[in-house]
Symmetry: C2
Subunit: 393 residues, 2 copies
């Protein structure tokens, strides 16, 4: 049962329904389902209100402000489905009360990364829409995962699917986060070797096995592997921070010409992989460089004082370089919602906006100050998960 | 004598020279001199380091940071001549030590508005360059001026001219500030009626007398009058906050479609005046609207606590709306150095940058966070004064 009213009087808790929905047996690809590209039409977007004290310092005040800015930008053109814990839902409703087109529902999670814990939606081009639940193990499980327990996050995708009345496939025990894949909607999936071959995910599967799983569950024909993501990215270098499709056959790639920056070799090696790649349709890719912020974004002492880490949780350190990248944008209907880092990076913020405007003249460019999301461990793309429109092709 | 070295060891004080330089007798126009447009080539730019406690709250810390950002942006493409008081020159040198192409000299002023107190430079197209000293009375003298005394500011233009070894005309007692005029470099001067006809400037001169003075001292043929500048602008609505030439025959105009904003009628009336105008070359103007910030920029309590007002000085108030406008940019060689207001105005900041980039594709667009200059009473254009190159046409 969905609570269509954004009222304060009743908190409908996702997962409390009497639904008997079970996963669909079978393989999405065989059923004609595939993952559309993010740049295609959406019906909405899922986010999760930030709360975890080890991710969001100082009571998540600044983090929530940044999330609210992202939500406001998205809600202009598509419905926002915001999950919040029972403890924070009233506060979330208060903070967002003036933003139309936002539906808030209660569900408990371990953190706020809808991209990684949310379902991956598929369509069949005939008006059908289903989704996939992956196994989630906090970016590496006991090998190098970032929390000691992740049961609530791992349950989120199926909880949402049921609440949203969307049939789902269950890919578990295959481990995957939504931020580690991009689809061009035409049969090609983009991933990094650093992440998908990391021993913390699916150590019993080799590259070929992983390609097969991706193609089966995302309805794809071809996987393009790039070696690296962003230097220091604690997700084992998710592709969504590094390289994104802006249309079929065309990508932006995080870049730096600075040879003293360890990112340079990461970007260069990934550029070479992309230059040598052919997509599912047999096309060579058009590759646009999108420079990273001109100055590194660091964790400061005042940030660090505000975190409260749990036992077994990965802790931050002063001077830790955050994995800042302009590629971590979200394509809402009609817009590119991009991070801005401010401070020393005002020039590169503006240059990134100019590049994306030139590349996507059909979209509005919206920049949201995102340092307070970065401090939590991700960026704009990481906190969103699109629900594609179930169109008939 | 000019101190060409930007060293700390000796403070050369402008005005201490033994120069016997006197104003040139005569009228610039009759001598073949005229004011080139700001978008033409410069040899440099004058600024004055902020200090006045009634303008720059909290010891001018934030103001100086914003000035340093502007100086850094300008110094990329032209030499910066920075005046600082003897009390602040060492601090200025320290703050700017890593920025090349900056020459700092000591001179005492009342405040930091090089646009309004600096000389207006003229050229003759044959390699000659001279400048004009105007009478400065703190934007309205005893009628509605902003300080009780302004002798040091009034002396600045001739002090600079002597230090820079530039012959000067003396237009005093004609009262004018540099921010109240724009030149297209081809015989047209743009002004506002609200400012130039204000009773605090030249009450004994009528509109025709003022046009004559402007044409004589700026080597112009035609004055275009618009009725208004920016609502609440305490300079009596200087044109440089409202409308600027971007090339001959083409202007940007501060604009709002919001009919509830008092600026709407100001902008509409000025648009009509521009639409009905013909420039010195007989051209109708091409007019581009440049929307003002989407949200007003206000004085906050924490700003107010930081000011120390002198007797007779205009004081700020909490909730006072600052005269924020994107038109108050500076054309350096190769760039448009634009204000950004941040906060609620991130969207309009970006839209303004996009508009200027489309209008000036040959220039780099640089945005500098400018709220801390606005708090002082002006904006980027107000704190600069270009020294045009003395080219041979």
């Amino acid at each position: 049962m969905r609570n269509k009213e954004n009222g304060l009087e009743d908190v409908v808790v996702a997962g409390d329904e009497d639904t008997q929905m079970c996963p669909i047996a079978g393989i999405p690809k065989e059923d004609g389902y595939y993952m559309p590209a993010e740049f295609e039409k959406h019906d909405g977007c899922i986010l999760i209100w930030p709360e975890r004290p080890g991710s969001w310092p100082h009571g998540a005040v600044a983090g929530r402000r940044a999330f609210a800015d992202v939500i406001k930008a998205i809600a202009r053109s598509e419905r926002v489905y915001l999950a919040a814990s029972k403890a924070t839902i009233a506060e979330a409703r208060g903070a967002l009360q003036n933003i139309p087109n936002v539906e808030i529902f209660a569900v408990e999670t371990d953190d706020s990364w809808a991209r990684d814990v949310g379902p991956t939606f598929l369509v069949d081009g005939k008006g059908g829409r289903r989704c996939v639940n992956w196994e989630f193990n906090a970016w590496g499980g006991t090998f190098n995962g970032l929390y000691a327990s992740w049961e609530k996050d791992n349950a989120f995708a199926t909880t949402f699917a049921k609440w949203f009345s969307c049939e789902y496939y269950d890919a578990a025990p295959f481990v995957l986060e939504g931020g580690s894949i991009h689809s061009d909607g035409e049969g090609t999936i983009l991933v990094t070797e650093a992440c998908l071959l990391s021993p913390g995910r699916n150590p019993d599967l080799d590259k070929e096995d992983i390609e097969k799983k991706l193609c089966q569950y995302l309805g794809a024909e071809k996987v393009i592997w790039i070696p690296h993501g962003i230097y220091g990215d604690e997700t084992d270098e998710h592709v969504d921070n590094m390289c994104a499709f802006i249309r079929p056959g065309e990508v932006v790639l995080a870049w730096t010409d600075n040879e003293d920056d360890p990112q340079h070799l990461y970007s260069k090696a990934s550029l070479e992989a992309l230059e040598n790649a052919v997509d599912a349709k047999g096309r060579k890719l058009v590759i646009h460089k999108l420079p990273i912020p001109s100055h590194p974004v660091w964790i400061h002492e005042e940030d660090l004082e505000g975190y409260e880490f749990e036992e077994g949780e990965d802790e931050r350190e002063i001077g830790e370089r955050l994995a800042a990248s302009y590629v971590n944008f979200y394509f809402s209907n009609g817009s590119v919602i991009m991070p801005a880092f401010g401070g020393e990076n005002v020039d590169s913020d503006l240059q990134a906006a100019f590049i994306m405007r030139d590349l996507c003249p059909e979209r509005e460019i919206v920049q949201v100050p995102a340092r307070d999301i970065l401090v939590g461990g991700g960026n704009i793309h990481c906190i969103t998960q699109q629900i594609p429109a179930n169109l008939i092709n």
